[in-house]
Amino acid sequence: MTVLLSELSVLGPNGTMVEPVSAEIAPGATLALIGESGSGKTLTAKSIVGLLPRGFRATGAVTVAGQELPVGLRGDDAAWRRARGRSVSLLLQDPFTSLTPVHRCGDQIAWTLEAAHGHRIPRAAKRAQVEERLAEVNLPARVADAFPHELSGGMRQRVAIAAALASDPQLLIADEPTTALDASNQAEILDLLRRIQLERRLSVILISHDLGVVRGRTDDVLVMRDGQVVERGATAEVLAAPEHPYTRALIEADPVVAARSGARISAEEAADVAEAEALLVCEGVTKAFGVRTVLSDVDLTIAPGAIVGIVGESGSGKSTLARCIAGLEREDAGRIVLSGEALAPGRGSRTPDQMQIVFQDPYSSLNPMMSIGAILAEALGVAGRASSEVPAMLEMVGLPAEFAKKRPAELSGGQRQRVAIARALAPEPRLLICDESVSALDVSVQADILALLARLRDELGIAILFISHDLAVVRMIADTVTVMWDGRVVESGPCHEVLEQPAHEYTRLLVAAAMRENAVPADGKD
């Protein structure tokens, strides 16, 4: 039943993408592949299921329970169609797109069932089997009749797990299975996977950029960088005593570890900030979309030069609050006051020097048809500044001046986010709103951007409203934190107070999920 990878490598159009990798995974064991985007971990996984993109080719051998997989063949080869599913299944990252939106969840599980059986299953038997599979992932039978959009992200990922396991594979490849989920869902899904894995004696390859996921839930780990394995060994040993400098860098860049090392503003400084005259005051801000209330009676205060964090899950209203403050949404009730001046709700009521926003997705927040220089020159022009200042703006965010000639598509995610920050700072705003601005980035890039924001605050004295679903990230940068849940502020105060003595039940849950050692499952081997 053992899974053997021997000398598995991936060749791409520009040469070798992944150097030969060998590994052995016992039944019921988990191998973690960690590394940043571009490290080759996803390509490795795709080569094992025969889903490499066009132009890529795998060599080497993969044996699952004594049976060799046709890794050298193209993915649409008949041999792959027989092997895929029966011996190997793939669980994808994003439960919001990996399920077909137009089919009921039960049908999607049934497809895998029928494909594995090789024939159609009678209706009644099919229903019973689907319900059984749903029960395995702790979902009620009614989910079978639901469409994916009717379910939450966590439930969808459970459906995806049920579908991936419906063919009873011997090897499951989970590609960043929880990256798209909220902190509290993440732990549940990972624990569920672990339980099923032990019950079924299933081998798992877990791919992640997140050390917190790997810690305590995997047996062995391969650290990959630039298509090469730089370090390997038992998970606990590698994390406790990393040998390769890259592994050490990864561990240090992990927000949980970094926050523990205590690079943070002191309690006295935070108190000083709170006493200073407020830059922005929100009072009783309320907003509903149709019948759904997304913000109810939210109060928020931001002092000049302060970094205020807002934490909450998706759907907690934190982004809507930011958009109301920025004037991109129109609040139904409440007051938003900037430097003593009440701001009218809705678009067109803000001036560029009042506030700017940095969005989550660096891939769509820059105009793809404009050069970086043109983007920055336009933002400078708004404030009456000359475009000759473009190189200075680039330098301020740590980019070389030559970048002015490039287009957004030529930049990495982190570089684009730096450009977005430079654009936001060009009109010299008093408040910078970062709406999940680092969530789409790798941990080490995340750390760089957070350091940049902290430096800009110190140099420019700008106030920052920093919104994130990740408490560990907020903790690294914010002076005060506001916890939102279901459209309400449930707790707020200086960062360390809220995190060390959370008063509200929900905050405790978030803290527990973020400080992952508390969320390690009972059978964890860390």
């Binding site: 993109p53 298509g227 926003i357 030529e410």
Partner: protein
Amino acid sequence: MSDIRVIGPAPVRRRRRRLPIGVGVALGVLALAVLAAVFGKLIFPDAMHQDILAATLPPGSEGHPLGTDELGRDVLQMAVAGAASSLVGPVIVAVGSMLLGVVMGTLAGYEKGWLDTLISRWTDLLLAVPVLLAAIVVSGVMGGGYWVTVALLIVLFSPSDIRIVRAGVLEQSARPYIEAAQMLSLSRWRVMFRHILPNVTSLVVTNLMLNVAFALVAFSSLSFLGVGVAPGTADWGRQLTDGRAIMFQNPAAVFVPALLIVVVAVCVNLVGDWIGQRLSQVGEEVR
């Protein structure tokens, strides 16, 4: 997966992209057609000269490689001289409806509200009008003529441009870079025409080329029906009508203009597809 596109030192823009053979041939054909449209009347000033003594000569006759029609006009000379009338109208129609589409579609997609409703209902109304029938009726009432047809076709072709531009603008205006532009308090015109429009260019240009092909066929059909160009003008559609009667004596009189219409329309489509593809890759990720 987002992971894949960043792997390795990805070549961000591949500059050497070879021209597909089909597109190369199509470009060659279009170049010839344009040359004929520009210089055709200079090369054959007497293309419409009637010579009743040389009427209905079959292809291969001396001095008339493709034969002559009922009135003794040389088929080859007419085909070359007719390029101008057959091509200029469709190009003007396509460009005109594109301009109309860009302005109205962008306004509808970006401003939304009552303006969108007004423009969208207007396009619905126009789409319900059968193009050829309307052209026949209007030409009948207004007395016909080339430029009346051009103006009419611009209006009747514009709904597809308006709809396509509107959809593209709607899609783009939900993107964060547009909200970032709004946060800079840029004027709506700047947002619409500097930020959004370049991102829908590939749609606009592809549709422009499609419309050239459609308009070419529509123009020829109208001329064939006798409501397009005036009799006696060198024009492929007109030539088709005139040649119909002698189809068996000189097949070239019918098939040459018919083939020209089909070939040019196909070439325009091929080139249009290719340009659209190229444009849509500008500024995109390398996958």
